[in-house]
């Protein structure tokens, strides 16, 4: 059974159709990329999976559970984590607190335990702290736990955001343009890091990306959106050879495009 199944997903904002009849699925342990020109509806698609937008029609099923009526926090409790295109950390909190905040739903202690400061509370905090330190180490931010998130460099903030997403023990990790704003060397590191996450932690990863080198280098499958419609899906090789995709990216002259949209 696929991990994530999407059937006939549509969403429009006023007169603008952002997503139209998208069918999509993802298996365990898979890295899938969603690509498409600007305004193709990739982020809308992401936002519907993570519960920010409610789909007009269609269903999203994750591990047999319907997601399309859930709030973002409920989606997170299904173990779907995400990062943001424009980094959204908790800037005035320490790096370690950023990660511990994301563990919120896994704490076992109650309000009563907090007020008494009993063993269960201390153990819960100590375990969370240790795991957060481990995650920081995992993303290469070892020893930076006492710094405010806003004081990290851009690349470090990207990695902290991924560490925070990993803290909710995701089965599916949604990465919204993880390489945006990174230089070629950092992009290469990010690519290896994403593959490492999949291999070591076993998460399925769905990403939106513009950097073709990155996408071709790590994806098992690629889905292409254009004007809110899925125009192609397949392995990197298949996508490279797909005429429609090349046209969507390189553009064709106006007249032909009209015909294409109408058909």
């Amino acid at each position: 059974m696929p991990l994530l199944e999407v059937y006939g997903l549509s969403k429009s904002f006023g007169g603008l159709t952002a997503n139209k009849d998208i069918d999509f699925h993802m298996n365990d342990h898979e890295i899938v990329s969603v690509i498409g020109p600007n305004g193709a509806g990739k982020t809308t698609f992401f936002n519907m999976i993570s519960g920010f937008y409610r789909a007009d029609t269609g269903t999203i099923v994750f591990e047999g559970r319907k997601l399309d009526k859930l709030t973002p926090e409920k989606v997170a409790s299904c173990r779907i984590a995400r990062t943001f295109q424009n980094i959204r950390l908790f800037p005035e909190m320490l790096t370690v607190e950023n990660i511990m905040a994301a563990m919120n739903m896994d704490f076992k202690y109650s309000l009563f335990d907090i007020l008494l400061h009993n063993g269960r509370f201390k153990k819960g905090e100590a375990d969370a702290y240790d795991r957060a330190i481990e995650l920081l180490k995992y993303v290469g931010l070892e020893g930076r736990e006492g710094e405010l998130a806003k004081n990290l460099s851009y690349g470090e903030q990207r990695r902290l955001e991924i560490a925070r997403a990993l803290a909710i023990k995701p089965k599916l990790l949604l990465l919204d343009e993880p390489a945006a704003g990174l230089n070629p060397k950092e992009t290469e590191e990010m690519k290896n890091f994403i593959i490492q996450i999949r291999n070591e932690l076993g998460h399925a990863i769905l990403l939106i990306e513009h950097d073709m080198k990155l996408v071709m280098g790590l994806s098992d499958r690629i889905a292409v959106l254009n004007y809110g419609v899925k125009i192609a899906e397949g392995t990197p090789e298949e996508i490279k050879g797909n005429q429609e995709v090349v046209e969507a990216y390189l553009g064709i002259d106006e007249k032909e495009e009209d015909v294409g949209a109408a058909s």
Binding site: S50, F52, T71, P72, E73, A76, S77, A81, R82, F84, R88, L89, F90, P91, E92, M93, L94, V96, E97, M100, A101, A102, M103, N104, M105, F107, Y109, L111, I114, L115, H117, F121, K122, G124, E125, A126, A128, Y129, I133, E142, G143, R144, E145, G146, E147, L148, R164, A165, A167, I168
Partner: protein, 427 residues
């Protein structure tokens, strides 16, 4: 200003002068029977004690002696000073409660006094004959005895927290300014209800207020002296500080901070938005309700005019002046505002009046400094905005607390990269 800062820094860095000051100031206050000047010195010495670099155990001992022995003894000679410090305690609890909502969770609440009123009226209703307007005398005769006060502390807390949740459920979808406006309206609604709920059934006695409210009693002794309320408020303040600190440094406090920083990101991380916001609202409201109960018992008279809009603003000013998000900061804010209100401006007024009577100056009554309290407030707030926009003691995040809690305080140097690395590898 640079020079002044240098001086303050020297005093803060040297332990001996600090020790002398924090021991001498209470002694001087005691022997001068807590006249205004020495009383303020005493309060400043408490502040210095808190900021000093003395060992924590010394700080605790000195603070305990100051608050448990020196102040009550001095208060026997001058109960006005005791009233002032009790008032500071009451406002400190209110400011801490509001700080939970505004400072921790980032929800601007301009109607905080509504919860204070709810707590006060719950106790006042049952601790006067008022309750007999609803419950017939044959069932139970009111006022209840002072022993019930202790039970009413948690009851008032729960009632106010419940009101907080009821208000919160619909309005917490709003953010920022919109939330502020709705909460402001809510407090006004509470005040207007209290003002008008004297007909058709007389619940609140309207603008005439409720009196005489039964003071608390313990083991058959009626607690109606300043000193009794001093201790009641002190105990509640300590409990509230402890509880707030612990909750703040837990997953709940982190969830609040996350919501304040970025609501959407927090939800994506599985933090239940509505539940956490309601919790902050309920906790802040609960503290206010509990203090309302104490306030009613202390004053033995309450009326709706004690719970006006300016009261909410006053408490908010304490939070902002002291340092939003910092518990010690808002206690200092409460101290500063109350001392300004009840001591400095009042003293200045009476001094000028004396001069007028003696014929040295001729100051018309309309220029009486006590009447310009809000103006002075406004000036102070403007100055704070310019020079210390984050308040007197701004909130600071550090690893010290959690390391101490979980026993990793071998080397606590949160901002030094090298040492943290060493401590990590050694674990």
């Amino acid at each position: 200003m640079g020079k002044g800062k240098g001086l303050i820094k020297t005093i803060l860095d040297r332990q001996l002068p600090q020790l002398i000051v924090v021991i001498a100031a209470p002694a001087v206050m005691y022997f001068t029977r807590a006249i205004t000047v020495t009383f303020i010195l005493f309060l400043l010495s408490l502040l210095l004690l808190y900021l000093s670099k003395l060992k924590n155990s010394y700080k605790l001992i000195i603070a305990a002696v100051d608050l448990l022995a020196v102040m009550p003894l001095a208060g026997l000679a001058n109960s006005y000073a005791l009233d002032v410090i009790t008032q500071i305690g009451i406002y400190a609890v209110l400011a801490i409660g509001l700080n939970v909502v505004v400072g921790f969770a980032g929800l601007l609440d301009l109607g905080y006094v509504g919860f204070y009123a709810a707590g006060a009226y719950v106790y006042a209703f049952f601790a006067t004959t008022q309750a007999n307007n609803v419950i017939p005398e044959s069932v139970m005769k009111f006022p209840i005895s002072g022993n019930w006060f202790w039970l009413f502390l948690p009851i008032c807390m729960l009632v106010a927290a419940g009101v907080g949740i009821l208000l919160g459920l619909p309005v917490l979808r709003l953010k920022g300014d919109y939330l502020a406006i709705v909460t402001l309206g809510f407090a006004e609604i509470i005040r207007i209800i209290l003002n008008n709920a004297d007909k058709p059934i007389n619940l609140t006695n309207g603008p005439k207020g409720l009196t005489p409210i039964q003071p608390p009693s313990l083991f058959g002794i009626q607690l109606n002296q300043s000193i009794h309320f001093y201790f009641i408020v002190l105990v509640i303040l300590m409990l509230v500080i402890l509880a707030t600190k612990r909750i703040y440094n837990s997953r709940i406090g982190r969830a609040w901070a996350a919501i304040r920083e970025d609501e959407l990101a927090a939800r994506t991380m599985g933090i239940p938005l509505v539940k956490m916001k309601l919790m902050a609202f309920a906790m802040g409201a609960g503290f206010a309700g509990m203090m309302g109960c104490v306030f009613a018992a202390k004053q033995t008279f309450i009326d709706p005019s004690s719970f006006g809009f300016m009261e909410s603003i006053g408490i908010l000013a304490m939070v902002i002046m002291g340092g939003m998000g910092n518990i010690s900061g808002v206690v200092i804010g409460a101290l500063a505002v109350v001392v300004l209100q009840l001591q400095l401006l009042k003293e200045l007024s009476s001094y000028l009046r004396d001069l007028t009577v003696a014929g040295v100056l001729n100051i018309p009554a309309s220029l009486d400094p006590a009447k310009y309290e809000r103006l002075v407030f406004g000036l102070i707030l403007i100055l704070m905005c310019i020079f210390r926009p984050k308040g007197f003691l701004p909130a600071k995040r550090s690893l010290v607390f959690i390391k101490k809690l979980i026993g990793r305080n071998g080397i606590v140097k949160d901002n030094t990269l090298d040492t943290t690395n060493i401590s990590n590898t050694s674990e």
